[in-house]
Amino acid sequence: MRTGGLTLKIFLLIVLNDIGDTVAQLLMKKGLLHTGIGDITPGNFTEFVAGNAASPLVWAGMAIFILNFFIWIVVLSRVDLSIAMPVGSTSYIFVPLAAMFFLHEAVSPLRWAGIILIAVGIHFVSQSKKPGEGKAPA
């Protein structure tokens, strides 16, 4: 299957996908915080499940997550994974930023260093040669 280059429309779809992922994770975490269970044990497991099954935030997060899956498939049908993945890996930066601003989580410099390594690593993975491709483009 031949896929084309990155157009503005596809770029915006990828950004939308990143934002969707960030919002989904944020909503799920926010919903989970509401139940107040920070340590799941066999004793409070039923309470955990019941509390979250009734949480609109958790459901909203999961709905956006599933919707995002379809946006991603549309993106992949239009551009190569080597183009989509680096733009998509920015969610590894977006999510901790959102966690800092909206959930007041503390992200240490060492954790940021780890996050940046992950994003760079994903970039490398996505630039690897495709099967049947003679030479990777420079």
Partner: protein, 123 residues
Amino acid sequence: MIKVLVFVIISEIWTAIGQVLFKKSVNSLGVHSLRGIRNQKRFLKNVLTHPSIWMGLSCMVAGMLVWLMALAQGDLSLVYSAGSIQYVMILFLAHYLLGEKIDRMKFIGTFLVFFGIILITIS
């Protein structure tokens, strides 16, 4: 901390198996053009009647549920970043189960991801 990571790893194992099952099933369908509504309809019908796709989806759902348990017990910035362990798992699963080649770029990238996760967990 260790408990959160165990939940993340269990969740990502399910997700990774789901991905491999997806890839295995679309591989077995053969490469067809996806241009045009007729080809797309045929592809969708083949995919939805494929048992491995449904097995893969079930794995994804299981992964999602364990993900919520991880997310409940750890900071979002930790759980989300640690979730990138999936790249490491997929590299090996794709190699051993799907016969995909690991080239130098993929190996370096996956190593960087792994090193990043170590930094996150000791922070």
